[in-house]
Amino acid sequence: MSGVRVLVGTRKGAFILTGDGKRKQWNVSGPHFAGWEIYHMKGSPADPNRLYASQTSGWFGQIIQRSCDGGKTWETPGGGMTKTPDGMPAGESNKFVYDASPETGKPLTTHQWYDGTQHPWEFKRVWHLEPSLTDPDAVYAGVEDAGLFRSSDGGQTWQELPGLRGHGTGPKWQPGAGGMCLHTVLLDPKNAKRMYVAISAAGAFRSDDGGASWKPINQGLHSQYIPDPKAEVGHCVHRIALHRSRPNVLFMQKHWDVMRSDDAGDSWREVSGNLPTDFGFVIDVHAHEPETIYVVPIKSDSEHYVPDGKLRVYRSRKGGNEWEALTKGLPQQDCYVNVLRDAMAVDSLEPCGVYFGTTGGQVYASADAGDNWAPIVRDLPAVLSVEVQTLA
């Protein structure tokens, strides 16, 4: 029987919500890694029992957790306890070191700091884990300060893809309020060499050679704080999404503006249309309809909550510009939550299920592509990320 597994990362632990095919009955498991910030969890498309989680803490740093049984049990890859007190460790895990070696790396340069001075690159945490589409042991990690790492041994060891951090525009990259994070990694399902990343606040980048080299893809983006309309980098891209059947078409929620590209990011045009505000964080695409997209408008960059006290998902069935508010089952008064950039996902059942989590700790689900909503849980810690696995 088909079903779904919703992976929820929160400020104080991870939760796994398992639903049946109708998406009416739910089992809630957690908190896993109680008390830690779970920035992201995601399952391998090649093996749904293989999950990766980014567990992080201002006190204790970065931990990578891995499950091989769909989240029932977890391990720190390569970091398990040795058998005897005198034994040497089997391996190292959780080690993210920028590649500054002369052979394969790029010099550890600087980026722009909040006050305009230059600041050295420093690893802080993993924001996003993107498992390979074909190999359960291969997974990418988008990190703060912005960089891209890859593991080919199930998360035990991590190697930077230094061509991105070492891109010549690096000194112009700057942190957003949340830090200079690489928060989005998209793998092209039709071209194994092509991938996209997004960085706040540097912009979007594309690689056509498996991550070795990168090209900024920010033409057509306009940001109030950047006077140069053709600026190569510096834009605060919040999220990018694509549909697997048509990976050359990208949708973007920028700091302000909802954008669309029909040429793999080479050019962008605004599709905010009739949205009540075009500020926001999440954007996602319907699993079966490449022109149906979802956003959650947020009031402004200085008021990070939904406008008018109403939690509304907006759906466009035309790839943007024309939007309809989806409100059935969502609070329509006195609601002041945010929906963060990694906190929306879709399943691939029929009809398509849509899920999102809020900073108020609710996880909402729609089993009919957004027409009707119901909370799966209401009182979790603030939700940082939501991913969905469709189970056979």
């Binding site: 006190w59 204790f60 720190t76 306890m81 959780n94």
Partner: protein, 100 residues
């Protein structure tokens, strides 16, 4: 035998309860560095959580105490008190009281 008290989150990560006991190679000095080396060798999942993987600098929100003394700013190769070396007193890793 050296006794080490870890903060709750690191005990959970290492899957231990209560104090951790470690053996330091005989003849070598009992220093903070030697204690953390032995701790990380036995519990590799703790690598990077107390001190940086590469620089071995203490993570900013952690402090070290023993025998009612704050040893945080002692050099990592300074000898720990005799009572820690003998196992009479534990070496304490303490998380800063901060955050929500």
């Amino acid at each position: 035998m050296i006794r080490v008290v870890l903060p709750p989150h690191l005990r959970a990560l290492a899957r231990v309860k209560g104090e951790v006991t470690l053996d330091i190679p005989k003849g070598g000095p009992v220093t903070r560095g030697a204690v953390l080396d032995a701790l990380e060798a036995r519990y590799p999942m703790l690598r990077g959580t107390i001190r940086d993987h590469v620089t071995e600098r203490r993570r900013p929100f952690l402090r070290f105490f023993a025998c009612e003394r704050d040893l945080t700013h002692e050099p990592p190769d300074a000898a720990l008190p005799d009572a820690v070396a003998s196992g009479a007193e534990p070496f304490l890793v303490i998380g800063a009281i901060a955050g929500g």
